[in-house]
Symmetry: C2
Subunit: 215 residues, 2 copies
DNA sequence: CGAATAATTGACAAACGTCAATGCCCGTGG
DNA sequence: CCACGGGCATTGACGTTTGTCAATTATTCG
């Protein structure tokens, strides 16, 4: 089992960069921050005063057990939103997986953002509960299939899917070890369901088979 | 593995009963509905137009896989709220575990309830993500310990905890089989951590040990 | 009191994890 | 441009945990 000590957890500083023109729905220009690979966006216990939209790159949201076991509860790709949380402190860690740009929306005491936040929170809730079904009741091959189908859908249904995260990340998302993830990829490859173009991109050869596996 | 076919899924009708005085925060009297044990409160795919507060009894929220495997994503006890969902249709099933009274808050198009719903949604999101950590990264004894600690906290920290749900429900909540749940209860009993008063109530003898196990 | 249901227990099997060795990318520097 | 090194991924052998199947015991409800 892969374990994360305090030394393993990213300690990189937050590098703020000048914002660029905001191609966003409404409101004033929102700052875009740049995070290098494996840098921390926020930490568990930190005060939560903003929510975030991924401009480019990818983000992982996770929690740790005392002994270092890690569970990634979500990945967020370009265009997706994260970071709104109950109460005033973050319950999770957020890290950039690769070089990532994030648009920050500060939630001031005055402005009422319930209207914007509620649909995001509900969507996150539904996603988390679907993920519970995968972790609680599906075996290794079903979990990987469900993950791949999800990635396909989030990338517009293209045959070729980019996986911005490592095998370790995938394992920690699916509640599996890196070895099991690797073996399942090999099995899917041998069955002719997928083709590994390189470590970070997969071609889906039999979408329907994958879909059925992931239920 | 326990499996649920359409015959197994509750088909009981919704028995509405006259409401009683509403001991609630604000607003007009809200109707209380009564559901007998194992009756359906709402089903996956149904139109969602309300949220619910448990008056007495207990509720399970779950999803099914095509082959009948079930994952319970949450239990709701007296005083707790559930049923608000993204979009217009329910993504889950809600069933009364025992004879249960539920106060129904209809969400009309006009009234804006974001303020009330957002904190509930965020709390649910946090709970779901904590549950993900349990299912993804904890073993059987840790899962049961975490479950018992959660039940203790939700029942005010008393030594004696009531479990309104069956072992099957606990298994489907923790991603374990009923046999494994049973064996873990026995192990905890043999270790002197808990005492089984009867099938549905547990005395916590070593809260600290339990707490440590559940991390 | 007795039947039906739920829970426990045991023997065995299967899935996944652990440990260790090997292989493959990819970036860097000569 | 090629060679080398380091990190990540894959593969194999084996162990552990949990699931499956089946029998037994306990509990609840008529």
């Amino acid at each position: 089992m892969q374990v994360y000590t305090s030394a393993t957890i990213s300690l990189s500083s937050h590098l703020a960069q000048p914002g660029r023109p905001a191609p966003l729905e409404s409101g004033p220009l929102q700052p875009v921050m740049f995070f290098p690979a494996s840098s921390e966006i926020y930490a568990q216990g930190e005060k939560a005063g903003a929510f975030y939209q991924v401009e480019f790159g990818a983000v992982r949201i996770y929690r740790l057990l005392a002994d270092g076991r890690r569970q990634i509860s979500a990945f967020h790709l370009a265009g997706e939103t994260f970071g709104f949380e109950a109460g005033t402190t973050h319950h999770f860690f957020a890290e950039a997986i690769n070089a990532t740009g994030v648009r920050v929306f500060r939630v001031t005491g005055g402005a009422d953002m319930s209207h914007q936040l509620l649909p995001l929170a509900l969507k996150g809730l539904t996603r988390a509960q679907e993920h519970l079904l995968v972790l609680g009741r599906q075996n290794a091959i079903e979990r990987v299939a469900a993950f791949l189908v999800d990635m396909v859908e989030r990338q517009g249904g293209l045959r070729q899917v980019e996986l911005p995260m490592s095998r370790v990340d995938i394992g920690d998302y699916l509640g599996l070890t890196i070895e099991t993830v690797s073996r399942v990829f090999t099995r899917l490859k041998d069955k002719g369901v997928i083709r590994l173009l390189n470590l970070r991109s997969v071609e889906i050869l039999k979408q329907d088979v994958l879909q059925t596996m992931g239920e």
